[in-house]
Symmetry: C2
Subunit: 431 residues, 2 copies
């Protein structure tokens, strides 16, 4: 892109910032009014971690000159790299460009090349640009422009005496490519060795049990601090250290202690692990879901290339659907109920045969808030796994909160698949 | 719960804080290392907004005495209510209890009643409590204890001269019930009238177009600031004002201007709207998904009571599944390809008939990153909607980024259902 090269040189180095502190300011009233989940801290810290950089702090403030000006002053005063997101759009509550210009004492100037690019962006889509979007072509005098290849609002960059201010638009699909293509090369000069943190991902064991079983061993190896993080259906063990060998030994030790409960030791999600194992084993998968309502299938299909191993699935919410689509016996439903091991087993077996899959997993349970009774309470779930050698079922009692329940149940389902696909467990012909 | 009543009186009033500022501090290295999405700001600000309270700022800091102490000092110095989350667990990186005790100058004391409750929590689940969990029964002298009915770590509360410090555990499923049951009654004394903000939710129109069509009219009505927030597949218009009549007039005006593109004006999500409309119309729904991989069904089943209207769905990722389960013609797949209006229409029609539903929606497209070609690029999607009067299909070009694409496509699918279920469009017999 022509404009990009002229206005922004990603190879330009910034020398003075070695070992720098990085802070993130996210602006936008929606982040503080309960409208929107703030995805920037997660995304940016993941990208920074890959460079050995770490967010020292993240602050969210509402749209508003005063609020943005105040926090920018505080954070800029602490030095290092400041990433400021949001408020570069065309609407009247987008104030970041003006506040930054004022804060740095730089007048806003029209930038005809950017205006041309913005008008072109609309024209290419057969749309007429509303007048309001033209404000996005204003640049505080002397700031570098970070091209926006996925939208209209360009980013801004300023560097002085060991400090860097990076201003990026709020929409994640615009921010992400800008950060990766233009900002990361500028930050890379100050990054630590790539190996300085490893996360071991564990499922099926609680947080305090994980610590009790691992921490002493890890301290003996030489780790001075170990971090833990529990989420629905999983616990992360976070190992940090400058020494690659130590990190490797730590990961190995946790794997030895916790065995198959460890499902990964990198950035890979459970669904990515399952898709990767299935590809390697050359097997096809199918799903049969009741209470998870399609979440297991949706997680599998979040993984690029899932279509190579995932044939499809059924969301059989009604009893009729379970019988008609999966061949569940009416007697089983009458005798044991839809939430039962018998029905889970028949669902998995039916899905496997009908889809022509090697492995099928099923879930049937009570997500709540309704549907429970004295015998079967909200949170109860049965899962089935059908493979070449037959069907197994398990019973679990999960958290009786609908969305947490769905997340946990989908995790158990994916973990059933993972365990069956672990290479040492597969018959030789399938590996 | 006995302990609760003795230690914490939710009716106790705090008088001095009227019109107070609320700030949130979330602790936890995982929030800054890219491991975890921070859900607390969204949840807490939603709850606060219902009381007319607003988060003035949210700050995330890593686990670490220095970092927590520093930010607590800054925020406590600004006054008002401070909510501090995370770091109350049993593992070695849980430091918040100690930092708060030190900061307020209160020694930690063992609290036998809490210890008894924690041991009981494990016993009830047939587990032996690891020694490490007992640290959670320590309380800084004189602080009130907020009972944790869903876990082991109690919360803490301190009130002095117009300031309040609320300390809550990190896991959302523990924090949420504690906040709603014990903290909200304490905050309610300082809340503004319930009606001070309305959010109008719009789908199918871009952010700048929404502003261009609405803002002048809203200013004319008397609104001094209007907020906008764009997410995949939707735009929020945020109206604020102390006057209920003005808010009502604003919502009505936006609805008049944007028509059916407005899908709601409260906290209701698109899937909640669809389930509510389907219940009112007494109709049954089904889904047939390819590229969204079950996300449409999963969103519908996120809604409590979805089982009353949602019969089930198919995730037909392979061509075979489309033919076998939905009756898509092999000729259509050969002639038009799986990503085509013809196939979308046949998928919807097949799902409707096979599920015995009144309405069925289908989605087939290219989520990427692979699968595109010169004729059909990543982001292309066809949707079908089948109802009593036949089948309609539409073509859309969405963002070629897998997860954003899935989110947008599922939104379009749900919106197709919504439009068909709007009461004025239903035949009288179905309303």
């Amino acid at each position: 892109m022509q404009v990009a090269k002229e206005l922004f040189d990603p190879e330009k180095s910034g020398a003075i910032l070695k070992g720098m502190r990085v802070e993130l300011i996210t602006t936008g009233s929606e982040l503080l009014l309960g409208q929107v989940l703030n995805a920037h801290p997660g995304y940016l810290s993941t990208r920074l971690a890959k460079m050995g950089l770490e967010l020292a702090r993240q602050t969210a403030v509402p749209d508003g000159r005063g609020a943005i000006r105040e926090v920018l002053g505080e954070v800029w005063g602490r030095g290092g790299v400041v990433i400021l997101t949001g408020g570069l759009g065309p609407t009247s509550d987008d104030l970041t460009r003006e506040v930054v210009a004022e804060f740095l004492g730089k007048p806003l100037e029209e930038h005809p090349e950017i205006e041309k690019k913005i008008l072109g962006y609309f024209a290419k889509r057969g749309l007429v640009a509303p007048d309001s979007v033209k404000v996005q072509s204003q640049v505080p005098k002397g700031m570098e422009v970070i091209p926006n290849d996925a939208g209209t609002a360009p980013g801004l960059l300023w560097e002085e005496k060991g400090k860097m201010l990076v201003v990026l638009p709020g929409p994640p699909r615009e921010l992400a490519p800008m950060f990766e293509k233009y900002v990361e090369p500028r930050l890379r000069a100050y990054s630590r060795p790539a190996e300085w943190m490893r996360v071991v991902r564990v499922t099926g064991i609680g947080e305090s049990a994980v610590q009790e079983r691992c921490e002493e061993e890890l301290r003996r190896l030489g780790f001075t601090a170990v971090g833990y993080c529990a989420r629905p259906g999983e616990v992360d063990v976070r190992l940090r250290g400058a020494d690659e060998k130590l990190l490797e030994a730590g990961v190995r030790r946790v794997r030895e202690i916790l065995g198959a409960a460890v499902y990964g030791d990198g950035a890979e999600t459970m669904e990515e692990v399952v898709v990767r194992l299935a590809k390697r084993a050359g097997v096809k998968l199918a799903t049969a879901e009741s209470c998870t309502g399609g979440l297991v299938a949706s997680r599998l299909t979040d993984v690029p290339g899932a279509s190579e191993v995932f044939l499809g699935g059924w969301v059989t919410y009604s009893n009729e659907a379970k019988m008609r689509d999966l061949g569940v016996a009416g007697e089983s439903l009458a005798k044991y109920g839809a939430v039962s091991g018998a029905v889970a087993g028949e669902m998995a077996a039916g899905a496997r045969v009908r889809a022509g899959a090697d492995w099928a997993v099923s879930v049937t349970g009570i997500a709540g808030p309704g549907g429970g009774n004295e015998n079967k309470s909200v949170g109860l779930v049965y899962l089935g796994i059908a493979g070449p050698k037959g069907v197994e079922t398990i019973e679990k009692k999960l958290v009786p909160e609908r969305k947490v329940f769905k997340a946990m149940a989908s995790q158990v389902a994916l973990d059933l698949l993972r365990n069956k696909l672990l290479p040492q467990l597969l018959p030789k012909s399938e590996v």
